[in-house]
């Protein structure tokens, strides 16, 4: 191959453009526009096909073969690119949209030039595949007769389910919510992941033979004993159980909600569900304060803006991250730098180093938050005594992450053991302390990225398969 490539420094990196802010905040459709396949091809040709591809070897939890699919795209072999992509990733259309792009951060070109647009290439490949009708159910031509129950239909459960059904096992996924997808459905706003994208993939999975049982909570609606009796293996992928709370005066006031409650309600609303006024969390015309500077916070902000809030303020306990990499955080590590999401661009006030002291209410409803500034010395927080101030807050959304909870009836019913951090204890083969029972995903590692979830699902499925093949 005469691969004398120069495009990595002759062609500029080009990201998929956002729709204009004033246009996109009027709806919940995707914020991104797609690049043309031709542009994408040129972008893909920037990939250096490194001897040691850090993107593939180091960064991507799934080990996506970025150089390989980039080359296939460069050569206009989209089908081959799709096969390569699917060989490591069941759901590239999800990760292509919502992954933070670990691969791009560790791209060799990121050192002196600008990284290859690995993620956008990924998404375009798979969308092209859907468009061309190349993504068909892959129905196993052999039935093992073994039954597997998967608890939880988040990315871990889905990936595991698809891997196992393709190996000829009978797979039933139990989901306690009304809809399939876990956080893919309830946690990620539509403007980042349109639900049609999820449904399209679920359609393929159903045709492959996966049965989904919704509104079933194992440990309550179904007993562990029943599952252990009826199934040859059980995989618990029930995700992160509990949102972290904040314990300050005024917490019990109305108008203070967990982020996920807000986001999942939005997801259901968009599906056409209705809620009575009491239950509806409506940001319209309100001053919204988001506590927690992470991605969930940003998702809440984007959602609130689309619902017509008066203002959004996002506050974070930690100091503002640097604009550029620090020496202590060298390439190829994930850069701990200030990131600005599409939602942030839509009008969010961001405050750093802020401690929440008290919610101040009126009529039992939150109206203001008392905050205090914090400075950091040698990484340790030092409150600045004289810095108290007040933020207007009609609606407060708590985005403080998740904590383990060993008391769930699901866990108790199976009588599982836990590790020191309070997550389900598993061995290298994803086996829990109980025979036949496997666990994977956030439920064993705590809240994490979708790519990690998919990776867990795939690896655990492999273990389950080996277990069933003995």
């Amino acid at each position: 191959m005469a691969d004398a490539q120069t495009t990595f420094f002759t062609v500029e990196r080009q990201d998929a453009p956002f729709r204009p802010v004033d246009e996109r905040i009027k709806d919940f459709a995707s914020v991104h526009r797609m690049l043309s396949n031709e542009t994408l091809r040129q972008q893909a040709s920037r990939c250096l096909d490194c001897g040691v591809p850090f993107c593939h070897m180091y960064a991507c939890p799934l080990g996506n073969r970025i150089p390989d699919y980039s080359e296939a795209v460069t050569q206009d072999h989209w089908k081959e690119a799709l096969d390569i992509l699917h060989s490591t990733n069941n759901f590239p259309e999800f990760t292509g949209r919502i992954c933070p792009g670990l691969c791009e951060a560790s791209c060799t070109l990121a050192v002196n030039f600008s990284a290859n647009t690995c993620q956008n290439i990924e998404m375009t490949i798979v969308e092209h595949g859907w468009k061309e009708g190349w993504i068909l159910p892959e129905i196993a031509n052999y039935r093992t007769g073994k039954k597997v129950a998967i608890i939880g239909s988040g990315p871990t459960g889905l990936a595991a389910a698809q891997q196992l059904v393709r190996q000829g096992h009978e797979v039933i996924v139990f989901e306690r919510s009304k809809r399939i997808g876990g956080l893919l459905h309830y946690g990620i706003p539509n403007f980042k992941l349109e639900k049609s994208v999820l449904d399209r993939r679920l359609g393929q999975m159903r045709q492959e033979g996966i049965l989904f049982e919704t509104d079933v909570e194992v440990g309550r609606d179904l007993s562990a004993r029943y599952l252990l009796q009826k199934f040859d293996a059980i995989l618990i992928a029930s995700g992160s159980p509990s949102a972290r709370n904040i314990h300050v005066p005024g917490r019990t006031l109305d108008g203070i909600h967990y982020a996920l409650d807000f986001l999942s309600q939005q997801a259901d609303l968009l599906e056409g569900d209705t809620f009575n006024n009491e239950k509806t969390i409506d940001p319209k015309g309100k001053h919204v304060v988001i506590i927690g500077g992470g991605d969930t916070g940003s998702d809440c902000a984007g959602t609130a803006i689309r619902r017509g809030c008066a203002s959004v303020t996002q506050i974070e306990l930690l100091p503002q991250p640097p604009i550029e990499r620090q020496v202590s955080n060298p390439w190829p590590q994930w850069p701990r730098i200030l990131r600005t999401s599409s939602s942030h661009q839509e009008g969010v006030k961001r405050l750093w180093g802020i401690e929440t002291k008290e919610f101040i209410g009126h009529d039992g409803h939150v109206k203001e938050i008392l905050c205090k500034k914090i400075s950091y010395e040698n990484g340790k927080p030092v409150p600045i005594d004289t810095s108290e101030f007040i933020i207007k807050a009609d609606l407060v959304l708590l985005c403080l992450g998740f904590i383990p909870d060993t008391s769930l009836s699901l866990f108790k019913d199976f009588n599982l053991s836990f590790n020191e951090s309070g997550y389900i204890h598993i061995d290298e083969q994803y086996k829990s302390s109980v025979d036949k029972v496997f666990a994977a995903g956030d439920v064993v590692i705590g809240p994490s990225l979708v790519v990690h979830a998919i990776k867990h699902g795939r690896l655990c499925a492999q273990s389950v398969h080996s277990y069933l093949s003995i």
Binding site: M1, G51, H77, V327, P332
Partner: protein
């Protein structure tokens, strides 16, 4: 007293040697690795009258070639010298009184080496006498040959045999076939003695003949006549005298290996030896002889395998001569000239060669052979002309032929002709007819002796002549995928291996080295091919150049038949002729359906049922062998071993196992020649696979899956617009080129001689497997057997056919060339790179420790030998007692990386860093900016203390040599042993071009061999040259680890190198073919251990510094290397990584995104490396090494060197394959030893200035060196005066800088024959005018000045017929002028990059690889003129208008001299020539200029012309230069 002590030392050494070396083995050392090479010649009188003068002259010639021999570890024992003469009847008649001898030749004389012990000697004598009696001979008596043993060196004396002559007569009626009977007698005696119970290794018969006698021994050249008293007797008369002096890699006492042998003496090396031995054994299976009759049995086996390559050649020569062919005939068979279609020769002669090619494979390699059968006395040269042979004939019939000219002083006026042997040609004297027979007459006579042409026409069977083909059906996509998985194809195989071959017709190139583990130490499944590591040519024999000298090479082969080679009739040619060994699927159909009566094909299924029990594979192999035997006995002649039946339920047997197994099985039954073996296999895809199959006895190969894959790639549009057929053609071409390249790495020119060569180390194949299936293959660490092999096959099988009838979807990614998860693991992983960069940037030793523990751990998990060695427990010492890191770091050097392959910034940073810590940086091949010799303002220095001398000699000027503390001669490079180098045109910027003395934008090629090193004595000569010029620099020789490298190292020490670098196969590269990166060479552990062991047993270790490189990264690496024998260390890749390299592996594309390995200005601006990073890395490394030293209880590195007893092997017990190896040989440690002899003693690099240059310099006063004034001198000169002017030139440059002196300041006129390297490294201002003649390497690396070689006025023949100087003139010259009033030899002005020359005729390969300068040839040119010429201009006088047939037009254009500038330039040149040499030819041309100049042809390289034009228009821009890989694709 002192003497006694010395002899004790010797005895100790010998005892120890004997204890150590048993059955020719010690540790990794094997006696079979030994090499030798030499000087050779003869003196004769045409009248055939015996004279003592001839003997005296012969001995004189011998002494004059003293510098071509070598001396051993005791500094006084020669490697062997001797003479062969006619039996001096008169001498024996008069001087032997106790035996009645007549004065006519009525007896034969046996010259015996006998045991010293009386008892044993008596035994031998009685065997001799008894055998004589049994065979119809009788021993008249014995004579003890008078010798003076005081002359001998200590080693020689301690092993000196009793030398005795037996006088043997025969019954009158036995006169007929006397020669044959004596041959049979000698073989019988030899076999009887060998069969005797007691050790009789001292027994040897030098000669047993009624015509000739050999006197030889472990002597230096001048010891011969002093030792053998007979040779001083005036009655000792002969009409000829063949002489030989030997240069061997070993110093072990081997009297019998001295030459001449019974029929010949040889200078050079037989590269194809192993194949020749195998073939000879094979021939013996079906040989009969009308002449020898039943006695043939008595002489078989013909080859004495304890002999040297030359002695084996002699064995086979003797057989064929005795069996009835004339000696010129046999020589022509064994060393045929090239006869590729491009070469013009008569149809009869071509037929002669073609006819003999199925009978005798070429004994290929550099060779000048002198031979005689008593009547004919002759000499012949190999097809490549890699050894010199010059002759002189006088009016009174004296003939002198030798490796050099000027070895005998003959009055010039008495000479009627002088000449040299041309490649592949023969020189023959008939002592009975008293005439010299020219080559064309010999060959014409030989080729018309029988109707060869008719026989060939009638008997030839060719594939194209067979039946009509039918189409091959396309293969189903899914089935192909399954087959891919079954045969271990990865995505990379498709992408990196097949696609480039199919689209470009060329094997892909890559960069950086191989940093993956060994197949046997990996827990993954590997193809059997991956275990084999190719052996390659270095030092003792040169690799050859398959691109530029392709017309010497051939892929032709014959599927053999078993007709008797000793007979001459048409049946012998009756075999299938193939133009190359790759068969298409169509060819397979042709073969299967052919109607030819001699070709009966049969299919043999080489798959097996995996369910068939544990030993299914082994049983299948037995089944296959028996099947082949049965079919063969039923008359089938073409065995098609096919794995097309592989499918679910049938697993394929590795094709190499099947082929080699069948081949060996049939060989053992003497049935191999009845059949041809064709492998039809899906497994084979890359060049190396084909090469291996051929090397293990496969006649032809059909890679059907590779073809199907290419078809699919084409159909999928992955080959652009190429059709499947064109793509397949390209693929076949790529394999063909690759095969030639593979052979050439071994120094072999033809497939015929590569067949069955088995020159590989099977790293990790167990002995049972080797013995039964791969006999003759080196395997020194043991390894896997059938069980593990089956496991590997089943891994692939189970992936291809998973349980439950599932269908696999994808191939494995591979990951060999580009790291992939689940693929082949690499040492330079992302962790390793990140940790090392972090550690050095933040100067954090803790992170560095993380790096080293990660790396050390990976050796074990990935599979490197040192991962399985560990330190023995011992008493540690406090770290304070260990020498400081500062002294340790002085032992560090950077690996050779040229400024060209890496950027200026990176190159300078490395140099600064190394200088800061007192270590040495290496310039690499490609010169160095002289400005860098001056220190920088901040005290840093960018001077590379090591300057490399590689085959391209780029930038090797006198100034360059003078600016070095160490001069490194690169014989091979770890990433691409046996390859040259190349710098793509777009890396040749203005700056690079200026230091390389070339033109910007033109691709630069370094040839595979050094054109002045075809043999070990040539290396000695180059070392001598360099030491003359810069007497203070250490001379280092870079070798690459391979089996036998230790033996080569011994030779290199004897060539007087001060340092040896043993490079591991893993070394990096800017660009190399992928096969070379992966499959050639061995890890440094093996090479280093073998070198230490070999040097030690040869008593040479203390004379040389041993340095090691090839992925040294941790303190533990250094500790292990030191214990295995290294005392200095080089670092390459790791340094680049600290400077920012991320192993992107884009060096060859000039696209390094970190500015390290690129010349692109935009990319270079992104270089962020700092010298501090390297300094930190090396400090850390030394610190960690020091910790290991303390732990092991060593205070100094010196006391640690070679202490392999501190190591233990920790072979894994849990790894399925790894547990089968054993590393004991690697750490074998002599129980009795002297510590002083295990590491380098003080190395004193100075070698005295040559006497000649001393004399020269004596005339230059102190005053002169301050204020030079013109000096004119005159001297006589002889061939022993070598490198004349070298030392003086060095001094001039040192004193006056690169500009030297004003033109003609020192004029020296010399009379006589100059030795080698006349005027080498000549400095400006020196004018050497030689009246007489010169030997090889005139004007080597000339950097200015002027040389004129003028025919002596007494000479009475035409100058354009006079060979006045030798081969390889002006190699690597950068400036200066040369005028040669006569003809020069081969490779005139090779790699000239600036000198100007006028010559009156040149041999083959003139102006090869030239990159600059001007050459005018006023006379004849040989073949292949201007091959690879990329710069400079040549003007060739061509009145016959035939020049275009002799010119290699690949890279050049021919034009007339129509341009006025050209005319002026040419005329000036010729005028200068006339001025300096008074050349009659020049004057004749000038006199008639208007008529003559149109008869000149101008040779100008196409690229160069374009560049010149661009430069003229001042429009040169970087992006206009040629594409990166153009050279590779079109080369």
């Amino acid at each position: 007293m002192q003497e006694k002590q010395a002899s004790n030392e010797v005895n100790n050494y010998l005892n120890q040697y004997e204890q150590l070396v048993q059955n020719g083995r010690y540790g990794l050392y094997r006696q079979e690795f030994e090499h030798d090479s030499c000087g050779v010649g003869f003196v004769a009188h045409l009248d055939g009258r015996p004279r003592y003068e001839t003997i005296a002259n012969g001995l004189h010639v011998l002494q004059r070639m003293q510098h071509r021999g070598a001396i051993g570890g005791d500094k006084e024992t020669g490697d062997g010298s001797g003479v062969m003469v006619q039996i001096p009847i008169e001498f024996f008649c008069n001087r032997v009184s106790h035996i009645p001898l007549s004065d006519v030749a009525s007896y034969a004389i046996g010259m015996f080496f006998l045991p010293k012990s009386d008892n044993l000697r008596e035994q031998c004598i009685s065997i001799v006498e008894k055998t004589c009696n049994e065979q119809g001979f009788s021993v008249l008596g014995w004579r003890k040959v008078p010798v003076d043993e005081e002359v001998l060196g200590a080693f020689a004396r301690s092993t000196e045999p009793a030398i005795m002559q037996a006088f043997i007569t025969w019954n009158e009626n036995e006169d007929q076939h006397l020669q044959q009977k004596l041959y049979v007698l000698r073989r019988t005696i030899e076999k009887t003695v060998a069969a005797a119970d007691y050790a009789l290794d001292q027994f040897y018969i030098c000669s047993l003949s009624n015509t000739v006698i050999v006197y030889k021994g472990m002597l230096t050249q001048d010891q011969v006549s002093r030792y053998f008293i007979d040779l001083n007797d005036e009655l000792f008369k002969s009409s000829f005298c063949i002489v030989h002096s030997r240069f061997s890699t070993n110093t072990l006492p081997q009297w019998k290996l001295a030459q001449p042998f019974r029929f010949m003496a040889h200078n050079g090396e037989i590269n194809t030896l192993k194949a020749n031995i195998h073939r000879q054994k094979n021939r013996e299976g079906f040989m009969t002889s009308r002449v020898l009759g039943k006695d043939l049995e008595k002489v078989i086996p013909v080859i004495d395998e304890s002999g040297s390559d030359s002695s084996m050649f002699d064995n086979v020569l003797e057989l064929f001569v005795t069996a009835g062919r004339s000696i010129p005939h046999v020589m022509t068979m064994m060393i045929p000239e090239a006869y590729s279609p491009e070469i013009q020769m008569s149809a009869d002669k071509r037929a002669f060669y073609e006819y003999h090619s199925p009978i005798m494979e070429p004994w290929d390699g550099p060779a000048a052979v002198v031979f005689t059968d008593g009547r004919y006395l002759g000499a012949t040269l190999d097809r490549n002309g890699l050894r010199p042979a010059r002759y002189t004939i006088t009016r009174d019939g004296l003939i002198v032929l030798a490796s050099e000219t000027g070895v005998l002083d003959v009055p010039e006026s008495n000479i009627i002709s002088k000449g040299r042997l041309y490649p592949g040609k023969m020189f023959l004297v008939d002592l009975q007819q008293h005439c010299i027979i020219p080559d064309n007459v010999i060959k014409a006579k030989l080729s018309r002796q029988y109707p060869y042409r008719r026989w060939i026409k009638d008997s030839r069977i060719e594939l194209r002549g067979l039946f009509n083909p039918s189409q091959v059906p396309a293969i189903d996509h899914q089935e192909l995928l399954e087959k891919h998985i079954l045969f271990g194809y990865t995505d990379e195989d498709l992408k990196v291996i097949l696609t480039p071959m199919a689209s470009q017709g060329q094997e892909a190139i890559g960069s950086m080295g191989n940093d993956t583990g060994l197949a046997v130490l990996s827990d993954k499944s590997h193809l059997l091919f991956s275990y084999f590591k190719q052996i390659f040519a270095q030092v003792t024999n040169p690799p050859i150049d398959p691109l530029r000298e392709q017309l010497m090479m051939s892929l032709e082969s014959f599927i053999e038949n078993a007709s008797n080679p000793l007979d001459i009739d048409e049946r012998q040619y009756r075999s299938l002729k193939l133009y190359h060994p790759i068969l298409s699927s169509r060819d397979m159909v042709r073969i299967r359906t052919n109607p030819h009566e001699d070709l009966h094909p049969a299919d043999i299924d080489i798959t097996f049922d995996p369910e068939d029990g544990k030993d299914a594979l082994e049983r299948a192999m037995r089944r296959i062998c028996i099947e082949v035997e049965t079919l063969a006995s039923q008359g089938h002649s073409m065995m098609i071993l096919t794995d097309t039946h592989a499918k679910r339920g049938r697993a394929p047997i590795p094709s190499l196992l099947a082929v080699s197994g069948v081949h060996q099985y049939m060989m053992e039954r003497n049935m191999r020649s009845n059949i041809g073996i064709i492998a039809e296999t899906g497994e084979v895809r890359e060049v190396f696979h084909f090469a291996l199959l051929v090397a293990y006895g496969c006649d032809a190969i059909c890679p059907y899956i590779a073809f199907s894959t290419i078809r699919q790639l084409s159909e999928e549009g992955k080959l652009g617009t190429l059709s499947a057929e064109t793509a397949a053609d390209n693929y076949v071409n790529a394999i063909k080129k690759g095969l030639l390249k593979t052979f050439s790495r071994m120094g072999i020119s033809t497939l015929h001689s590569y067949f069955d060569i088995r020159s590989f180390e099977a790293l990790g194949l167990g002995n049972p497997l080797i013995e039964q299936y791969f006999k003759g293959t080196v395997s020194r660490i043991g390894g896997i057997g059938f069980k593990e092999l089956t496991w590997e096959i089943m891994q692939r099988y189970n992936q291809a056919y998973p349980a439950h009838r599932q269908m696999p979807k994808l191939r494995q990614a591979g990951g060999f060339y580009r790291y992939r998860r689940d693929g082949v693991p690499h040492y330079w992983s992302f962790q390793a790179i990140s940790l090392l960069q972090q550690a050095t940037k933040t100067e954090d030793y803790a992170i560095f420790k993380n790096f080293t523990s990660h790396m050390d751990g990976s050796y074990r998990t990935i599979g490197e030998i040192r991962g399985f060695l560990d330190f023995k427990e011992t008493v540690a010492i406090p770290i304070e007692e260990v020498e400081p890191i500062e002294t340790i770091m002085r032992r560090f050097a950077s690996a050779a990386m040229s400024i060209g392959s890496i950027s200026k910034e990176a190159h300078e940073t490395v140099a600064i860093a190394m200088n800061r810590i007192g270590a040495k940086s290496n310039s690499g091949e490609g010169g160095e900016d002289p400005k860098r010799s001056s220190p920088l303002d901040n005290g840093d220095s960018m001077r590379s203390r090591i300057k490399q001398i590689a085959s391209g000699r780029f930038g090797v000027t006198t100034e360059y040599v003078m600016s070095a503390d160490e001069l490194q001669i690169k014989m091979a490079q770890g990433a691409k042993p046996g390859e040259g180098g190349q710098l793509p045109g777009n890396k040749v910027t203005d700056y690079i071009a200026s230091i390389r003395h070339t033109v910007p934008g033109v691709t630069l090629i370094s040839p595979p061999p050094h054109h002045d090193i075809y043999s070990i004595e040539d290396l000695a000569q180059l070392i001598y040259d360099l030491k003359q010029v810069n007497s203070e620099a250490q001379i280092s020789v870079k070798l690459v680890s391979e089996p036998g490298v230790g033996t080569i190292a011994s030779g290199v020490v004897k060539a007087k190198a001060d340092k040896i670098l043993i490079s591991g196969q893993n070394g990096g590269t800017g660009a190399a073919p992928l096969t070379a990166i992966r499959h050639v060479g061995l890890p440094w552990e093996l090479g280093l251990a073998e070198t230490q062991q070999s040097l030690f047993i040869n008593n040479l270790r203390q004379q040389v510094i041993v340095q090691v490189d090839g992925h040294l990264k941790t303190g533990r690496d250094l500790a292990i290397a030191t214990l295995l024998g290294a005392e200095e260390y080089c670092f390459g890749t790791s340094l680049l990584i600290t400077l920012g390299c991320m192993m992107v592996r884009k060096c060859h594309l000039n696209m390094c995104p970190f500015g390290v390995a690129t010349q692109h200005p935009d990319l270079r601006s992104h270089f962020h490396g700092k010298a501090d990073y390297i300094v930190t890395f090396l400090r850390f490394l030394a610190t960690e090494f020091r910790e290991y030293m303390a732990r092991l209880g060593f205070r100094t590195v010196e006391e640690m060197v070679g202490r392999s007893d501190m190591l233990k092997s920790t072979v894994p017990t849990d790894s399925i394959k790894g547990r089968t190896i054993t590393l004991d040989a690697l750490i074998d440690f002599p129980r009795r030893h002297d510590r002083k002899l295990m590491h380098a003693q003080k190395i004193n690099p100075t070698l005295p200035t040559s006497e000649f240059d001393k004399r020269l310099q004596a005339f230059l006063t102190e005053e002169f060196w301050k204020f030079p004034y013109p000096v004119s001198l005159e001297f006589p000169i002889a061939n022993t005066d070598r490198t004349v002017g070298g030392s003086l030139s060095g001094r001039i440059i040192k004193q006056f800088g690169s500009k030297g002196l004003a033109d003609n300041t020192i004029q020296v006129t010399l009379h006589g024959s100059a030795g080698q390297s006349f005027g080498a490294f000549l400095a400006p201002g020196l004018f050497l005018r030689l009246i007489g003649e010169a030997n090889d390497y005139l004007g080597k690396a000339m950097s200015g000045g002027r040389i004129a070689v003028v025919q002596a006025p007494e000479t009475r023949f035409r100058s354009d017929r006079n060979i006045i100087c030798g081969n390889v003139v002006l190699y690597g010259a950068t400036a200066g002028e040369v005028f040669i009033n006569g003809m020069a030899g081969e490779r005139f002005a090779v790699r000239n990059s600036g000198a100007m020359a006028v010559v009156e005729g040149v041999g083959d390969h003139g102006c090869e690889y030239m990159t600059g300068g001007i050459v005018a040839v006023l006379g004849q040119t040989g073949k292949n003129f201007a091959a690879g010429m990329s710069g400079g201009i040549a003007y060739v006088y061509d009145p016959s208008e035939l020049f275009d047939t002799r010119c290699n037009l690949d890279t050049v254009e021919l034009e007339g001299v129509w341009d006025i500038d050209d005319q002026t330039r040419l005329k000036q040149l010729i005028e200068l020539h006339a001025k300096y040499t008074k050349s009659k030819i020049a004057m004749a041309i000038l006199e008639d200029w208007e008529a003559k100049y149109p008869q000149f042809v101008k040779v100008v390289p196409i690229e160069y012309k374009k560049v010149l034009e661009r430069m003229k228009q001042n429009e040169y821009r970087d992006e206009e230069t040629l594409s990166v890989t153009e050279e590779v694709y079109h080369g």
